[in-house]
């Protein structure tokens, strides 16, 4: 910053600074919750407005909601299968919508206008806590789906097709949430940093292609996370015999 003659108000890079809320002896990242509440509020507002008057002949926001629903149903049905996708559609759909809204909201809303005493607002998915939370929920859902469907026979999938696979399958249970969370976290954070650095260097026009690319990867990351979550759950439910 010392090299720059004037400091640009929208171009400052902060990594790893958090607005800490302390409840008892628990630490919370306040900026993550603030931005996630704003984005969840926007999402819920859209949903509430769109479902206020549902009709057989859709009009207005209902079209958008039905498009979203159809898209998510196809996603869940392709991965989980015709028989069980109904039970898991809300979970998969919520993951997709939350990640999508977080990514795009993080990229599109000018958060820097709101000044925080510490840290900065941004995509909630650029915080490792959020992505790990969702990845662990996916793992829980996977085990829940498998165990509730097949009981203890669920664990047969560790020794299929041969028992040699056992150690790899066990490692996989740890790498699944790890890769899910780090993929999302890394992509969104890297996108924010790339845009941030470019804006810092050249504030006009030049960052736009990177921003567009960021929007694209953001949407893709939401799709990847939801698809993989559905795939893991589908794997847990899968009947091998």
């Amino acid at each position: 910053m010392a090299l720059l003659p004037l400091s640009l108000p929208f171009a400052e890079l902060e990594v790893g600074h958090h607005l800490y809320w302390q409840i008892g002896n628990l630490n919370l990242h306040g900026q993550v919750f603030l931005s996630s509440w704003i984005l969840i509020g926007a999402l819920l507002a859209l949903v509430v407005v769109g479902t206020r008057k549902l009709d057989r002949d859709p009009r207005g926001v209902q079209n958008l909601l039905e498009f979203m629903w159809d898209y998510l149903r196809d996603l869940a049905r392709d991965q989980i299968g015709e028989k069980y996708y109904r039970d898991w559609l809300p979970f998969i759909g919520t993951l997709f919508l939350f990640i999508f809204v977080s990514n795009w909201g993080g990229a599109l809303i000018p958060w820097k206008i709101i000044e925080l005493p510490e840290g900065e607002l941004g995509a909630p998915t650029a915080d490792i806590n959020t992505t790990v939370a969702m990845a662990l929920l996916v793992s829980l859902a996977y085990f829940y789906a498998g165990l509730s469907r097949k009981g203890l026979r669920f664990f047969e999938l560790y020794v299929e097709p041969t028992p040699i696979m056992l150690p790899f399958k066990i490692i996989e249970e740890f790498t699944k949430p790890l890769s899910l969370s780090f993929r999302l976290f890394g992509n969104i954070l890297a996108d924010e940093l790339a845009v941030g650095v470019l804006v810092y260097l050249v504030p006009l026009i030049v960052p736009l292609p990177v921003m567009l690319l960021g929007l694209f990867t953001s949407a893709i990351q939401a799709l990847i996370f939801a698809t993989l979550a559905a795939f893991y759950i589908g794997e847990g439910l899968h009947e091998s015999h």
């Binding site: 990594v15 790893g16 600074h17 958090h18 607005l19 800490y20 809320w21 302390q22 409840i23 628990l26 630490n27 919370l28 990242h29 306040g30 993550v32 919750f33 603030l34 996630s36 969840i40 999402l43 819920l44 949903v47 509430v48 479902t51 549902l54 009709d55 057989r56 859709p58 209902q62 909601l65 039905e66 629903w69 159809d70 998510l72 149903r73 559609l89 809300p90 979970f91 759909g93 919520t94 993951l95 919508l97 939350f98 000044e115 925080l116 005493p117 510490e118 840290g119 909630p124 915080d127 490792i128 806590n129 959020t130 790990v132 939370a133 969702m134 662990l136 929920l137 954070l189």
Partner: protein, 155 residues
């Protein structure tokens, strides 16, 4: 904006990979969001979409059934039409034949009538001629006998 700092206690170091109570709370938040969206979005919209899909498929089946019915009726009517055409055709042919026969009958009757009249006339002429001839012959005989008598008388 200081209200955002809930407590001014010792602030942790921070960092990119700072996992803390945000994680479970965010998980709870996502689960709550799932239930909320399920009742606000997925269930009602799904109901509407599936109802419409059902409506469309029943309408489609209905329309298909009606179409089959229409096609059956159409075939039926075409069959009837063809029958009617055929019977009309035969009626026309029959009428034509009838007319033809009547015409020919009339012609034949007229011809025979004409022939008969002609024959009768011919016969009458013949008779009259015959009668005239025989009368003439009688006259000739009479005259010749008279000539003979005269000649005989002269000599």
């Amino acid at each position: 904006m200081t209200w955002l700092l809930l407590a001014e206690a010792a602030v942790p170091e921070g960092g990119l990979f700072d996992l803390d109570a945000t994680l479970p709370l965010m998980a709870v938040q996502v689960v709550l969001l799932t239930f909320l969206l399920n009742s606000l979005f997925f269930r009602p919209v799904g109901k509407v979409v599936e109802e419409r899909e059902g409506y469309i498929s029943t309408s489609l089946a209905d329309a298909k059934q009606k179409l089959a019915q229409v096609e059956r009726l159409e075939a039926d009517l075409t069959e009837q039409l063809r029958g009617a055409r055929q019977s009309a055709q035969t009626a026309i042919v029959e009428a034509e034949q009838e007319v033809d026969k009547l015409y020919r009958d009339a012609i034949t009757t007229a011809e025979t009538e004409a022939n008969r009249t002609r024959e009768k006339a011919r016969r009458e002429i013949e008779e009259q001629r015959e009668a005239a001839q025989s009368k003439l012959m009688a006259k000739v005989d009479q005259l010749s006998s008279q000539i003979i008598q005269r000649l005989l008388a002269v000599s």
